[in-house]
Symmetry: C2
Subunit: 95 residues, 2 copies
């Protein structure tokens, strides 16, 4: 599934809720989901970890929807087969 | 671009760095990037906000790579044209 298709699916499912909740509330929910992913990564339940990864990308797409950002376009613009810092196809940054 | 293709691109670019840094370090970096997205959302610079969205999905893909998670599969498994909680195609959850 394209990143854009996933974002559009999130729009169909949740835009009315996301728009009501607003940017700050949706960002906070995304941050909570990232916390849950962090907790899942401490355990050994792969299915639970997968679900938390799904939640993070879902809330990120929701946040992109209500802020008018095309997540796929943004991702490809910055990361296009080379590291945006060192410009290499296999990052050689020294940081 | 498919979610899976983006994750594979991140693998080609960064897997050697990500694997060295490890799960905890990569998660912490992702959390920092989410903080930067939060800051960008307070401003009005759309290009900067786009860059931060790109960074969050990039680091999420990196974290998925080093934990052996297929981000696209996880996303589609949980969110497949209906809300996983209320099972509706336009979420009607009451929370």
């Amino acid at each position: 599934m394209h990143i854009r298709e996933f974002q559009e699916m999130m729009r169909r499912l949740y835009f009315h809720r996301d728009a009501e909740r607003g940017v700050k509330g949706t960002y906070n929910w995304l941050a909570d989901e990232l916390g849950e992913l962090g907790e899942a990564l401490k355990g050994e339940d792969k299915e639970a970890t997968e679900e938390e990864f799904a939640d993070v990308i879902a809330w990120l797409a929701s946040l992109a929807n209500i802020t008018g950002i095309d997540l796929e376009k943004a991702a490809i613009k910055k990361y296009s087969n080379k590291c945006p810092k060192c410009q290499k196809s296999s990052c050689q940054c020294t940081f």
